[in-house]
Structure formats: C-alpha cells, structure tokens
C-alpha cells in the first residue's frame, strides 16, 4: 500500500492501463505536455509518447466525437473535459451518440470510452468551473456514471471504467484531488454497482457520493456527540445503482438523508430518495430528506461556502427526522419564508 492523493491515484491508474493495454489512448485539452490543468495526466506524454497521450484542438464536441471514431477503429479512448461546465459543447455527442451507439447499432458498435470530468466546487473556482453536472448524464440511458470519494476508489473505479465495455462518465470531485489515502498499486479494477458502507451506524443512514462523502462522514462524527449513531453509504457509482446496499442499510436504521452537492431539484438526490421510499416505506420512521446545493446558479467563490451543503445542514436534517414523532414543521406555510 502506498499513500497517494486522489490526483496521483488517477494518474497511476492511467499509467497502469496504458501499460497493460496497447489500445488505451488519452487525449484532451492540455493533457499532453502540461499534464492537464489538475496534473491528472502528468508525465504520460513524456513517459509513453504522443501516441498514447496527446493534446487536441480546443473543442469538446470534437474531442468526444473523435473518441467515438477511434473506438470504431478499436481503441479505448480516455478523454478529459477540462472542467464540468466545459463539457456542455459535447453534450450532443454524449447523449445522441456515445450513450446510444450500442443500442442503435444492435450491439455492433461498442464504445468502450471514458469521459473524465473534474467536477463540483469547493476550490474557489470562478464562474463555470464548479458545476455538478452528473444528473444530466445519469438521466441518459446507456451511460455509466461514476464518482469516487477516496484515492483507492479513484484508482479502482478508473481502471474498471477503462476496461468496461460501456461508455463511462467519470466525475472526479476536484475538491478531493489533494485528499490522501492508502492505495494498492498496481491494483485491481473495482466493480461498478457496489456501494460502500463507509461508517456503520444504527440510527440514520446518510447516502452520498463523490464530494459529499467527506461531508457526510464529518456530520456522522458530529452527530455522535448529539447521541445519534449514523451510518454513511458511499454510492461510488450512480449508474449502475446499488439498491441492495442502500435498502439494506435504510431498512435497518429506519431513517435516511441523501446528501449531494448538486442542485436539489430534479437531481440525483431526488432519484435516491424516491428509490429509498419505494423500497423501504414500511421500515421508515420519518420522510426521506435531501440536503443539497441551493437551487441557484453556482455562486462566486466568496459565497460558495453558503451554497455548499455542510455539516450543519446535514445535522439539521438529521434533527428533523421525527425523533419525537412530531411532524416536520418545515413544510408548514408559516415556516416557508413567506412563500405561498
């Protein structure tokens, strides 16, 4: 085991994949000589050559479409969208081609490609550098959507994404790039669709993924002092979704809060909450609550701490889980800030 940052773990995963499979190629904006703006591809061009890691023109639709074509010639491209919000020009390629190609060609054309996104906020990025765009992709059939929360998971999930026969949208929480952890290298791919119980508890289940997992863990520690024994489930992959691990946990605790950094409305948190109440209704002692980013455009750096769902908001939600069997007053008209 080695101690690595998430950025180093991702870099190591790319190196190991390039070494093991001649068809793996890495490309995107600034990923070559520079090593990417977050240095995830640091040294790949130097060590493996332009053949394996190269810069492209600055055009995201072109990058993703080019990867589609290279898959048709038998390659396994790993492309980088420089930032979450810079991926939108590629949206048509992702939704109309990447996600649908296997289906529209009855399995003849497979696209074993990975689209990497540094995503979400918390690092003081200026406008358009902090979006949580996972729901757009998770809503689209044909895409697998992954978001690691630890260096070990980052390594294993990226190795799996590269080996996976389906296209994978790989969402890297940029606030966790410098977080350290123990990683086995060279290691094995981590199978998709297996959520991890990060912390065991008996009273409440917090469900999170990517950047929200450390928030949930901190909230669980703080809740201990309030007398609540909190379990934390890290989804790891949004698609495929691990209903078994989630439902098993919530049926045991009887209470659930979903924590996501993204906007709440029509987000992944809504999907998780719906799945939990469908599967666990008779085990629930309280409504499933969501703690999310605010439903506003991602704010300027000086205000992002107000946007981000922190430990206090998670604890407030836990406190509202009808411990004394009283209705949640939040949904009463008088509690809604004057809204009708």
């Amino acid at each position: 085991m080695t101690t690595l940052t998430m950025a180093q773990a991702l870099n190591t995963a790319l190196r190991d994949a390039i070494t093991q499979d001649d068809d793996v190629v890495v490309f995107g904006e600034d990923v070559g000589t520079l090593g990417g703006v977050f240095r995830i591809t640091d040294g790949l061009t130097r060590d493996f050559g332009e053949e394996r890691c190269f810069d492209t023109p600055l055009a995201e639709s072109g990058i993703v479409g080019f990867a589609v074509g290279m898959c048709m010639a038998g390659f396994r491209p790993v492309v980088e969208m420089q930032f979450d919000a810079f991926g939108y020009p590629a949206f048509e390629q992702v939704v109309s081609h990447v996600a649908k190609m296997r289906n529209r060609t009855a399995g003849a054309v497979q696209l074993p490609m990975v689209i990497r996104f540094p995503y979400a906020g918390g690092i003081g990025g200026v406008e358009h550098h902090s979006d949580s765009s996972e729901a757009y992709y998770a809503h689209t059939p044909g895409l697998k959507v992954v978001s690691p929360s630890t260096p070990a998971d980052a390594y294993g999930l990226l190795r799996q994404a590269i080996e996976d026969p389906d296209p994978v949208v790989f969402m890297e929480p940029k606030a966790l790039y410098w977080a350290k952890g123990e990683v086995q290298t060279p290691g094995q791919p981590l199978p998709f669709g297996r959520a991890a119980v990060r912390r065991e508890g008996t009273d409440v289940t917090l469900i999170a993924y990517g950047p929200s997992v450390p928030v949930a863990l901190k909230a669980a520690d703080a809740a201990r002092e309030e007398g609540w024994d909190v379990e934390v489930v890290d989804l790891r992959t949004i698609t495929p979704f691990d209903d078994d691990t989630v439902a098993r946990s919530v049926r045991r605790t009887g209470r659930c809060v979903v924590v996501t950094e993204s906007h709440g409305f029509a987000g992944v948190g809504a999907e998780v909450a719906a799945r939990v109440q469908e599967r666990c209704f008779h085990s629930l002692a309280a409504p499933v609550l969501r703690v999310s980013g605010l439903d506003i455009p991602y704010p300027a750096p000086k205000l992002e701490h107000t946007y981000l769902p922190g430990v206090d908001r998670v604890l407030d939600a836990v406190a509202r889980l009808q411990w004394d069997d009283e209705p949640d007053t939040r949904w009463l008209d008088s509690a809604r800030g004057g809204a009708a």
Binding site: E51, T56, A59, S61, G62, M70, M72, A106
Partner: protein, 383 residues
C-alpha cells in the same frame, strides 16, 4: 496539387502559394455539360483525371438502379410501408459518384438522405431502409460494412469520420473515410470541429457536401455568405473543390483525386457538389410552400442520369440494348424491394432491453420483467 506539408504559419502565406492551393476553382468543375457533351478544359486546369470508361458505365448503371430505388421508396411511404423517406432524387451523381471512388474497406459516414449511396455500397436495400421503416435504428452492421449508421443529428458524424480515419492510420492501414453532409449542416459547429480535427491530425477524410440548395425549407442564401461552401475549408488549411454535382464524371474525378490524396497521406479534402433536391425534404414535407415549380422544372433539364447516359452513348459505351437491360434490372430491383417490404416482420418488444448496456442494469432487469408480464397478460386475454 500536392499536400501542403509545411507549417501554415509562414510570414507570407500568399507568396508561398498556400492560399491558392487550398481554394476551389472559381466555377464548379464540370466535365460533361447538361446536354451530355464533354467540356474542354472544364476541370479547371487542376488536372483531375477523367475516370475510366468502366468506372463511368458502372456509375451510370448504379445511378439508374438508385433512381428507381428512390422512387420506389417514396411510393412505399404512401403505402404505409415506411415511416418516412427523405428522397435524394436528382442527387444520384453525388450519391453514386462519391461511393464509386471508394474501396469496400474505406469508411462511409452517411446522413439520413444517403440511402442510394448505401445501396451503391451493396448494403441490402431492406437493411438500408430499416431505420426509415421503423423496425430498428439501423439495419446493417456498421463495423462489418465500414459504414456508420445513418445519422440524423447534423454534422455530428463527421467527427467520427475524423476519429476512425485517424485510428485506422495509426494502425498502419491506408483506409479513407468519406463523410456525407448537406448544405445546411455546414452551419453546424461539428462540421467545423471535424474539419479542424481532420486537418490537425492529417486524417484521411473526404468531406462531401451535397449542396442541394435547401435545408428543409431554408434556402442556401439564408444559410451562408460564403462565396461557395468549399471556401469553408481554407480557414482550417483543408484544400477544397467545388464540382457540378449533377455531372457524375466530374464528381467521380474529383472524389477519386481526394480519396487517392488522402490515402497517400495528404490529409483531408473538402468537396462541395452543386446539386438539387427534386422532391420535398421528405414525404411529410410540402415544398410548394417555399419554392416555385419553375425552379424544379429548370433543374429537371440538368438531370444527372440523362447527362451521363448521353455521353456514354456518344462514346459508344452504352446502346439501346444496354439501356433496356439496365432499366429492366432497376425494375426487378424495385419489384424485389416492394415484395420484401410488403412482408410484416414482427419486432420483439423484449429486444428493447438488449444493447442498452453490455449487461443490463438492475432497472432494466426489473423493467424487462414488467414488460414480459404485460405481454403475457395481453396474450392470456386474447386466448
């Protein structure tokens, strides 16, 4: 016309002759005029070689079959056998000429209007029409046929062409990719990104624009201020040409040149073929709302098939007997198609869950079970 290999960032590109080498001829290249006469010097002094007699006779034969197929397909929409059909009647010199310049292992990236190009590539006509019949999104195996699924999102397929061409070149193969696109789609961003990527990676791609004058209803004049769509290559360092798209000999000559150049490592090439869509956008469209009948009548006098046939006759390459033979072949092709399209193939609802992912997700397993139950219940009711 050799590829410009040195950097484009010279101090005086005009002096280097770079700009001139990228620009198309001022007038579309024409080998044969509307009356079927060979135009002396029509190739614009660029030295495009006249295609062989064998290539031209075969091109004519396939245009005749293609026209009959196209008319039959439009008829099939009226009989309810096709959900929709975007006709390319009048564009046969483009559809057939572009494909005739390719080898079977070259790649083609078609749009929804390129059915005649697909049958010219010997893709089964029923498989060609599977998308438009509504049975499935694609009827043939794109990898086996080196022919992408017919593409509806405009210009998006051209970047795939650049990617596959680059990938094949990296594997040491000399295959070329040809991407079809219409005039309207040259306004799409992906057209420009594809030209740029192909140029930067020196990918062997031929971009073939069928300028049929309309993007559904919007005329070319509202689409661009460019002197010719072929001028859109110069900004990317991509050499370009414009050609009379109703002159199959000229189309073939220019595409032959572009394909060979790409195969030899010269990089991408952009061709604008001036042609005309005689029918409406699809059977569901009403072209009288946006164009005059006189305009269509005028283009009928420039028919690509009659033109090549006239030249072939004047050269003694085809005669009445041969024309009769090919007409009968086209008729038999259409009859066989109609018979096969009159069959009502069952499409299996359970196949909906195949090929969404390599392995179905838990939701898909649940939903497949639900649909199977629904179908079983329906069958029970009927029994």
């Amino acid at each position: 016309m050799t590829a410009q290999k040195e950097s484009t960032h010279t101090t005086d590109p005009h002096a280097a002759g770079l700009v001139a080498s990228l620009l198309p001829c001022p007038e579309p290249v024409q080998f044969v005029d509307a009356t079927g006469r060979r135009v002396p010097g029509g190739e614009g002094g660029r030295g495009y070689a006249q295609p062989t007699a064998e290539q031209l006779v075969e091109t004519w034969r396939r245009m005749v079959v293609g026209r009959r197929f196209d008319v039959q397909s439009t008829a099939l929409t009226k009989q309810g056998r096709l959900a929709v059909y975007p006709s390319s009647r009048g564009q046969e010199a483009c559809q057939v000429g572009a494909v005739m310049a390719l080898r079977p292992d070259d790649w083609v990236f078609p749009t929804y209007r390129d059915s005649v190009a697909l049958i010219t590539r010997d893709i089964d006509p029923v498989e060609t029409l599977t998308l438009l019949r509504g049975d499935a999104h694609c009827g043939y195996d794109p990898i086996a046929r080196h022919t992408a699924a017919q593409c509806t999102p405009l210009a998006t397929q051209l970047i795939h062409a650049a990617g596959v061409a680059h990938g094949e070149a990296r594997r040491g193969r000399d295959t070329v990719a040809l991407g079809f696109i219409g005039d309207g789609a040259t306004s799409e961003g992906d057209f420009h990104e594809a030209l740029n990527f192909a140029a930067v990676f020196n990918a062997p791609v031929v971009f073939f624009v069928q300028n049929n004058k309309y993007a559904i209803s919007v005329p070319l004049s509202k689409q661009t201020k460019a002197p010719s769509l072929a001028y859109k290559g110069i900004g990317y360092g991509v050499p370009s040409e414009q050609v009379d798209g109703n002159d199959a000999m000229a189309v073939l000559a220019v595409v032959n040149h572009a394909v060979q150049r790409a195969r030899d490592g010269g990089g991408p090439f952009l061709i604008e073929a001036h042609t005309y869509r005689l029918d409406a956008h699809t059977n569901a469209d009403d072209a009288t709302r946006y164009r005059e009948a006189d305009e269509v009548t005028d283009w009928l006098t420039r028919d690509p098939i009659a033109r090549l046939e006239a030249w072939l006759r004047s050269e003694g390459l085809v005669d009445d007997a041969r024309v009769e033979e090919v007409t009968a072949e086209a008729e038999a092709f259409a009859t066989a198609l109609r018979d096969r399209m009159n069959a009502d193939p069952q499409v299996d609802p359970m196949s909906l869950f195949d090929n969404v992912f390599a392995e179905p997700t838990p939701e898909l397993v649940e939903q497949r079970y639900m649909v199977a139950q629904e179908i079983a219940a329906e069958q029970e009711e009927q029994e």
